[in-house]
Amino acid sequence: MFETFLAIVRRDLILAMRRRSDVLTILFFFVIVVSLFPLGIGPEMNTLRLIAPGVVWVAALLASMLALERLFAIDYADGALEQMLLAPQPLSLLVLGKVTAHWLVTGLPVVLMAPVLGIQYDLSLDGLRVLVITLLLGTPALSLIGAIGAALTLGLRGGGVLVSLLVLPLTIPVLIFGAGAVEATVSGLGGEGHMSMLAAILVLSMFFAPLAAAAALRVSVE
């Protein structure tokens, strides 16, 4: 069973490496959105420090939405999804494999790039550290929750916009706790509580989101 999970992860990683432009688009989108704010607002360090957690988190959220549309769409078009549905393995496990690979190519680069961008906002070292940790906990949850939306809107026209409308409200807790943890750390309150909540959201979504997405896929493919 674990073998199939790894096979799906490996397959999607190979596919992503052969189509690097898709991955780079997401990362550049994130970099550009985050970099636009200091340019628009001006070099007022106090303001920038204040808005940094929110801006980085919102940009990460939008970047992850941007990538969602393609999560199942290609597999659906070439028939690979049908074969996954007919595989004698739990579909939720295969979905988890797909989401894992998806996060590794779209989420992880964002996490790694975030501290570099955080320097533009004059975030303290502690703030940067917490920013990376919260993104590390939060972006997989975003991918998992997003997978449900992507599965539900599969095969619909204008699915891309619909995914965002469906999924964005569900990601609000991740945003609040993610940005909240950084703010709390910067202001000296300590962000441990927020981070525990993020970890809890991640664990819950790891368990429930693949099940929900698998059920949605069965309906969409029919």
Partner: protein, 211 residues
């Protein structure tokens, strides 16, 4: 043994078939035919379990397939209109990943052999995007050579294949039937396989099975 009892499928507002019943036992071939739009693909997808019929039941060894779920999908291999192969992967990678999904462990050597037998020698290491339609079809069909599923559901398997490949595929299906397998197929092409003593099911006119 596969049993289909009083099946009814509705797509949109159109009732494709109703009260459709048939059964398929070891070593039997069921040839499904009917004009375009008569519901052949819908019936096949329902038998795979991809689509829930409006009415009726599909049973495998006496048990409804919805309750068996993974126990049933292990016994079934479906090749539909879409090949289910990834354009950016090579034929070899495609075949190995598909068989891992099927729960069959295929060594690299077995995969090379299967591709050679299906007539893709020299194309194993190329991304399938550069292959022709017929060659892509062959990659998808190479799965049949290494698969242990009892029931093969093949929706128009002969499309885009050249004469030699059609012959080979018929041979593979015959071997499968001789080993006690079952096959359920549609085709618009004239092939020897569907002549003679096979079960036939015509859709569009009452959906009766004739032998």
């Amino acid at each position: 043994m596969l049993e289909v009892v009083d099946l009814e499928c509705v797509r949109g507002d159109r009732r494709l078939f109703t009260n459709l019943s048939f059964s398929l036992s070891k070593g039997e071939l069921l040839y499904l035919y009917g004009h375009n739009g008569s519901g052949k693909t819908t019936l096949m997808r329902a038998v795979c379990g991809l689509l829930h019929p409006t009415e009726g039941e599909i049973r495998w060894d006496g048990e409804p397939i919805r309750e068996l779920s993974e126990e049933y999908t292990r016994e079934v291999l479906y090749i539909g209109h879409k090949n289910g192969i990834k354009d950016d992967l090579t034929a070899l990678e495609n075949l190995r990943i598909l068989s891992t999904l099927d729960g069959v462990h295929m060594t690299e050597e077995q995969a090379w052999d299967a591709l050679e037998r299906i007539g893709l020698r020299g194309f194993e290491d190329l991304p399938t995007t550069v292959l022709s339609q017929g060659q892509k079809r062959r990659v998808a069909l190479a799965r049949l050579l290494a698969h242990q599923a009892k029931l093969w559901i093949l929706d128009e398997p002969f499309t885009a294949l050249d004469r030699a490949a059609v012959e080979l595929l018929q041979q593979v299906i015959r071997e499968h039937l001789e080993q006690g397998g079952m096959a359920f197929l549609t085709t618009h092409q004239e092939v020897e396989l569907t002549e003679g003593q096979v079960k036939r099911l015509q859709l569009g006119e009452g959906g009766q099975v004739s032998v």
